[in-house]
Symmetry: C2
Subunit: 328 residues, 2 copies
């Protein structure tokens, strides 16, 4: 890490930071809908982040980070590392601010995410998920150009930006006369969204959901220290949640706030994607469906006014059709 | 028709009526998103009505109609005729107001629409689309019980209610600093939505889109008189738009306001459903996709700030997968 990156990572994200991010994001993006879904007679509030312009919540953190860069930093460009959604968030923000963006992406990222990132004007550098460290590739690029690293989750601005979804949820509930949320069930890859939501809603219970085989944060919380994913080749459709391990800036929030963590199977994810298709008429990608999957499978009990993240919708057509067909 | 029904059909729907409907609807339903879509460098504004609680705009007109009924009328119940979306609108509103609802539906309506209507507590009476008149079946029911007929499109309240989507579009454009809409492209079955939008936005150019073989209103506008569909067995996936012929209360508005009408093929509908899936991450049913299909196919040129209706998302999984797969 460069000194600048260490300084960024060592700043502590705060509730006030989330509120500042929210104000900036409200200037450029309408609130995404908070849609009620009846689950066995209980209303679950679904935050439809696939309706963001880039198809996921990642636009929030990227915008908070990029729009806070100085003119000098902007001139040197930015580098992102991402399986595809953060990539589009950084590319979208960079284009809007006139910043050169380079994104380090796995060579097996979904084609639509690679295409969409390039279509937003970013330069894409591919790496091999099994044999290369994306952070090392990114560090090489920033050392060369002086560009700012915009990490996908281990960055206080990114965390605060993602947390703005939690402020919106609380505001939207209030607008219809409800308090809360009492509980937020969040998908969890590196922990950027989950830690941001925890900071946004200090009174909410936070539960996290990871895909089977990629449950490193659940194991880390149990162990009390950051543990990596055991098998980086474990197959999953949840490409958005395939992070090797979390960062201290996320873990420090999550270990204070997460009450429960569960993992879900591909069948459970497919079932949730089908419910979202049939009842909400939305397209949710596998990684974006895990939170609802855990509730539908009965692995997490809702508590009071419960919100779940439907975090993104960037899924290749073939995968979507396959999972929809296999859903019970 | 009973005297009551004749009186209802003879009232002229108005812009003021649309505004009154909007006020009532705003009390119970959040605005549906108005999402930008880039089509060859031009932004098209997509009104995402599949995100209504019943999965289509039909909740609007049904609510305006049912909530205006007197206590005496409510006690006698309501009868609706519908291929499935209006059915759910009437059933949803009736349940909320404690009114008994009976819906006359074609026996070949999509299974999910039949299931959803029954799940909302309505009684469903089936008829054969090829051999029976749904209006005649409904008239028999209302004559028997004294229930109020809530027609799917030929009713001034229903027209005004559907028009509230146009008020929302104008409000949402204004909120982001745009005027308009200059043009609205509307799907068209019986003409309830299209005539409502025309009343809502008196300065907008109105274009209508029908599915191939079900272009009775286009032909009626050319002829200057109401003509029926020529072949009631013409196959189409656009079940929501299979209306035998429009009503004078709709035609009187449409013939003054519609500048262009085009029909679209199944391939064009499938292509639009795919774009909505990939770019907007929404599920749109075939009938709900025809307006965008016409723009994407180059059959209608956008003019200034152009809005299109994505009117519903109630499509059986098998049909959705089939059309998504065949989309170019």
């Amino acid at each position: 890490m460069t000194g600048q990156e260490l300084a960024a990572a060592s700043r502590t994200p705060t509730h006030e930071g989330v509120k500042r991010a929210m104000a900036k994001i409200a200037d450029i993006l309408p609130k995404t809908p908070l849609l009620p879904l009846d689950v066995d007679g209980v209303t679950i509030w679904c935050k439809a982040e696939m309706l963001q312009p880039i198809g996921s919540f990642k636009i929030r953190g990227a915008w908070h980070r990029l729009s806070d860069l100085s003119a000098q930093e902007r001139a040197l460009g930015v580098v992102g590392v991402s399986s595809g959604n953060h990539a589009q968030g950084v590319a979208w923000g960079a284009r809007r601010l006139g910043i050169d963006a380079t994104i380090v992406m796995p060579s097996n990222a979904p084609q639509m995410k690679l295409d969409a990132t390039r279509a937003l004007g970013a330069k894409v550098v591919l790496y091999d998920r099994a044999t290369e460290s994306r952070d090392a590739v990114a560090a090489g690029l920033t050392a060369q150009s002086g560009a700012t690293l915009v990490h996908a989750f281990g960055d206080p601005w990114v965390i605060e930006g993602q947390g703005s979804a939690g402020i919106e949820i609380a505001d939207q509930l209030k607008a219809i006369g409800l308090s809360g949320p009492d509980m937020i069930v969040s998908c969890c890859g590196g922990g950027g969204l989950a830690s941001g939501l925890a900071l946004a809603c200090p009174d909410a219970e936070i539960a996290i959901v990871e895909p089977e085989g990629w449950d490193d944060i659940i194991r880390s919380l149990e162990a009390g220290e950051i543990l990596p994913v055991e098998d980086l080749l474990h197959p999953t459709y949840c490409d958005a949640l395939q992070t090797p391990q979390t960062y201290p800036v996320n873990f420090n929030v999550l270990r204070q706030r997460v009450s429960r963590g569960v993992s879900v199977t591909t069948d459970e994810v497919a079932a949730a994607m089908r419910v979202v298709f049939e009842k909400l008429h939305l397209v949710v990608e596998p990684g974006g469906a895990v939170a609802l999957a855990a509730v539908l499978a009965g692995k997490l009990q809702p508590k009071g006014v419960t919100a779940v993240t439907l975090s993104g919708g960037n899924v290749d057509r073939e995968i979507f059709v396959k999972l929809l067909a296999q859903a019970a």
